[in-house]
């Protein structure tokens, strides 16, 4: 007996709905087993999670706060994935954006009129992220260097550079030795709506609309989709692939850079170690789960924010080790991603191989 996967020629609409639901249920069951193993009541844990992520206005706002950088970086990587450019470097681009924003806030703020501080930070962050993304893009477009490796390597450089800055030259002299820069002046703080929800949410919505518009209503978007669907056909119809890589990476890196600015200016008001806590990698998962659809990315990023915040709540409220929440988050993602295979493939259990020949005996 064997199990085999066969590609579905016709995708059933039912499976497109049922599969994610089923995957989620499976994830919860699997998660329950983990929780039981740690001696935690799963039902109680799930209740805490839901309450902690969407159960109150405070919970909701915390979830959104986590979702904002995920939305921006998710949108950024999605547009490069659209044209099969595997930008794994959102984390580094976000870090560079944070650094640029911090530089403006810490060192240039005093020379700028107050109303120009935030725009200057935004522009600096977008430029920094974009330029950081442009390096691997140029290497790819000009001499064909594999972007997966270069974007990943650029992350390490950027992350270590942030650490160098807040441990070293930019460290707050009055910070009692804690790693991090001094707090930004208030003109460099992104306005907040309620709780800690800050203006970054507007950036994310505008970015999603922008990407949707570019993809569907511009010449550039048409070329990006064409390259993503068949690079050879794109080349044949005269599309300049190299130039598209550069443009897309400017956009992709720019959005990640903006995410970095929103984090330092909207939440921490300083450059600190929490900036590079993996948003850029989670963004990749979000982009895939949302099938690269810009509006879908906003939704999935919100759910992912809930998962993070809810997971923290389990740890706090139920006194479990931090790892339990992380294992749970991992399991849910694993099932959701794994589940998507069943929408496209059908599982078959094949009982007896030898029997197969007998059917042909009747004639010949």
């Amino acid at each position: 007996m064997r199990i085999s996967f066969e590609k579905r020629l016709e995708q059933s609409r039912l499976s497109a709905i049922l599969v994610p639901v089923f995957s989620f249920v499976m994830a919860l069951i699997f998660g329950a087993m983990i929780l039981l193993a740690f001696g935690v009541n799963p039902l109680q844990a799930y209740t805490v999670m839901v309450r902690g992520s969407i159960g109150s206005s405070y919970a909701l706002s915390e979830t959104l706060v986590k979702a904002i950088p995920l939305m921006l970086t998710g949108l950024g990587v999605s547009i490069s994935f659209r044209m099969l450019f595997w930008n794994i470097g959102a984390e580094g681009q976000l870090a560079m954006g944070g650094i640029a924003a911090a530089f403006v806030a810490l060192f240039l703020e005093k020379y700028l009129p107050p109303f120009l501080v935030l725009p200057a930070m935004m522009i600096a962050a977008i430029l920094a992220g974009a330029l950081w993304g442009l390096i691997p893009a140029t290497l790819k477009a000009v001499i064909g260097v594999n972007e997966i490796l270069t974007t990943l390597m650029m992350n390490y450089i950027a992350i270590l550079f942030v650490e160098y800055l807040y441990f070293g030259p930019w460290r707050d002299p009055d910070g009692f030795g804690f790693p991090g820069t001094a707090q930004f002046p208030e003109t460099a703080w992104l306005p907040r709506f309620t709780g800690r929800i800050h203006f970054g949410i507007i950036f994310a919505i505008i970015a999603a609309a922008l990407i949707w518009f570019i993809l569907n209503h511009t010449k550039r978007g048409y070329e990006i989709r064409l390259i993503g669907q068949n690079p050879r056909a794109a080349r044949y119809t005269g599309v300049n692939i190299g130039r598209n890589i550069l443009v897309v990476m400017l956009l992709s890196g720019g959005l990640a850079g903006l995410a970095g600015m929103a984090e330092v200016s909207g939440i921490a008001h300083r450059l600190y170690s929490g900036l590079t806590s993996g948003y850029g990698y989670t963004a990749i998962i979000i982009a895939w789960l949302a099938s690269l659809n810009p509006w879908g990315i906003l939704v999935v990023a919100f759910m992912m924010g809930g998962l993070i915040v809810g997971g923290d709540q389990i740890q706090i409220a139920m006194q479990t080790p931090a790892a339990v929440a992380q294992v749970l988050q991992g399991a849910i993602l694993f099932f959701m991603l794994g589940g998507s295979i069943f929408a496209n493939y059908r599982v078959r259990i094949i009982k007896n191989l030898e029997k197969s020949k007998s059917g042909a005996d009747g004639y010949g």
Partner: protein, 520 residues
């Protein structure tokens, strides 16, 4: 000829298959007999491939049943079908290039690798090879094989798994005339051994030469069945298209104008870095069709690619209207007026997942009214697409349909529609009528004629000698990247062309023809 040994193996009864917006098969009944070759004929989109996909287990029919030796069967996958002795060779081969023939065959068995005995399998392959007179080297790597040989591997794979009903979807579309004749012999041999063979083809000559029986589908329905011996090409064409088909086109005398496309000593390499074009010089004039003949893989693809800017010219010059365009970008080539109908339609000519509309506008999207500045006007794009869909009779006429769901012939129409509309003086056409039904083939050739009349220079690259002889003004033969000769079509015989295709330069013939072939 009706074979006395023939027995009905498979019966399709009332097979119906619907796709969103199309009824691909409408209550089709079909009997398939052993010892016989059945040809399936029909216009593009008539439902031939779909019907065979149902039989081969790829699709579940929406209605009807399949009887195998009188017993009702249901196939849920190609594996079920092959387990019951029914196998299909698709138009796109499914072989792993980097593995050997034997390994590919093992792969399709999908059994436990530990229990396999490679030597035994190789022996069995050789045995089958002999039995059906179909030479296949089990140790050859797929990438070393010609298309015709790869096709043999596909057939071998089915035979190895014990198929008694073999379905071949347009097997000859990719073969040279010689290979097609060889295939016919193999198929006949298999039929004599008791296999039931079904081939889909658009070439009426092949139907007449290959088959014992013919069934014609139109718009999903079976409309006629004949014993091949009792019918004629004309009757088949009439039944299939619903009107009389011209097998001869009225050709006006060629009045070539000034030279438009000119190549001077062009050299280029292929993917493996070996010379693919050697010192190629020729010219095509305004209002002229130059046919390029040759066995596949003798530089035809590379020739089309250097002219359209897709391949680097190592040496020599390409001129359009006297302007040097050597090594221009694909976009520059388009702008200067070169249309290119590529040979590889799914790999190069189309973005299979994008809708028909986006595929039709792959060249026009750069200009008004479809774009204004940076922006794409979706409404104009739809208008443009609908227009072409109508003019070129693409079915289904729904611009949103992804190109991959079109029948093979309709994909080709889509490319033709786009390239002919974009035409501004030069058309490089590679197998323009491959996969088209007789009606559509006729209309493509007519269209090329019309373009010629309007002063377009056309380079027609084809393996179909009949096509080249029918519409070209001059013919050029390529062999191992070299020009064997260029001659007026009227001045040359098929035998002479064959000799050139086999590597005999024209000058060596005892014939009074212009040696350089260049006209002024």
């Amino acid at each position: 000829m009706e074979n006395p040994k023939a027995t009905t193996v498979v019966q399709l009864k009332g097979i119906t298959k619907k796709f969103p917006g199309v009824l691909a098969n409408d209550r089709v009944d079909l009997d398939i007999n052993s010892h016989e070759i059945l040809a399936l004929l029909g216009e593009n989109g008539a439902g031939k491939t779909t019907l065979m996909n149902v039989l081969a287990g790829l699709y579940n029919p929406d209605g009807g049943e399949i009887l195998l030796n009188g017993k009702l069967v249901q196939f849920h996958s190609p594996r079920d079908a092959i387990a019951n002795g029914i196998g299909m060779v698709h138009q796109h081969f499914m072989l792993v290039e980097s593995l050997t023939v034997a390994e590919n065959i093992i792969l399709s068995l999908q059994s436990n690798a530990l229990s396999l005995n490679l030597d035994r399998i190789k022996k069995e392959i050789s045995g089958l090879s002999k039995k059906y007179q179909m030479p296949v080297d089990p140790d050859a790597y797929i990438w070393q094989l010609s298309v015709g040989e790869q096709q043999r591997v596909e057939i071998m794979r089915l035979l190895y798994r014990g198929a008694d009903v073999l379905i071949l979807d347009e097997p000859t579309a990719v073969l040279t005339p010689n290979e097609a004749t060889e295939l016919a012999a193999v198929l006949r041999h298999m039929a004599n051994e008791g296999k039931a063979i079904i081939i889909i083809t658009h070439k009426l000559n092949e139907v007449m030469n290959f088959s014992d029986r013919v069934t014609i589908l139109r718009a999903g329905q079976k409309i006629a069945s004949f014993l091949t011996a009792k019918t004629s090409k004309e009757e088949l064409a009439r039944k299939m298209v619903g009107r009389k088909v011209l097998f001869h086109l009225e050709r006006s005398a060629c009045v070539p104008g000034k030279a438009v496309l000119k190549l001077e000593n062009v050299e280029a390499l292929n993917e493996k870095g070996l010379p693919a074009l050697r010192s190629i010089s020729f010219q095509v004039c305004c209002g002229e069709i130059l046919g390029v003949a040759g066995v596949a893989g003798n530089g035809q693809r590379e020739l089309a690619e250097v002219i359209s800017g897709l391949r680097t010219v190592k040496k020599g010059k390409i001129l359009i209207n006297g302007e040097d365009v050597t090594n221009c970008t694909p976009l520059q080539a388009i702008d200067i007026g070169i249309s290119h109908i590529p040979g590889d339609r799914l790999g190069v000519g189309l973005a299979p997942n994008l809708p028909i509309s986006d595929n039709l506008t792959m060249k026009a999207y750069r200009e008004r009214p479809i774009t204004r500045g940076f922006f794409l006007d979706r409404d104009q794009l739809q208008v443009f697409a609908k227009n072409l869909i109508q003019t070129f009779a693409i079915t289904p006429p729904v611009p949103e349909t992804p190109a991959r769901l079109l029948s093979g012939g309709n994909q080709q129409r889509l490319i033709l529609a786009r390239e002919i509309t974009a035409n501004q003086g030069v058309i490089i056409a590679v197998h323009p009528s491959r996969g088209l039904d007789v009606g559509a083939t006729e209309s493509v050739r007519k269209t090329l004629f019309e373009q010629r009349e309007q002063g377009t220079s056309i380079l027609l690259i084809s393996e179909d000698l009949e096509e080249i002889l029918q519409i070209s003004d001059r013919i050029m033969v390529l062999y191992e990247g070299k020009i064997m000769g260029i001659a007026e079509v009227a001045d040359i015989t098929v035998d002479e062309i064959s000799l050139m295709m086999a590597g005999q330069p024209l000058e060596k013939f005892n014939h009074e023809l212009p040696a350089d072939g260049l006209k002024t």
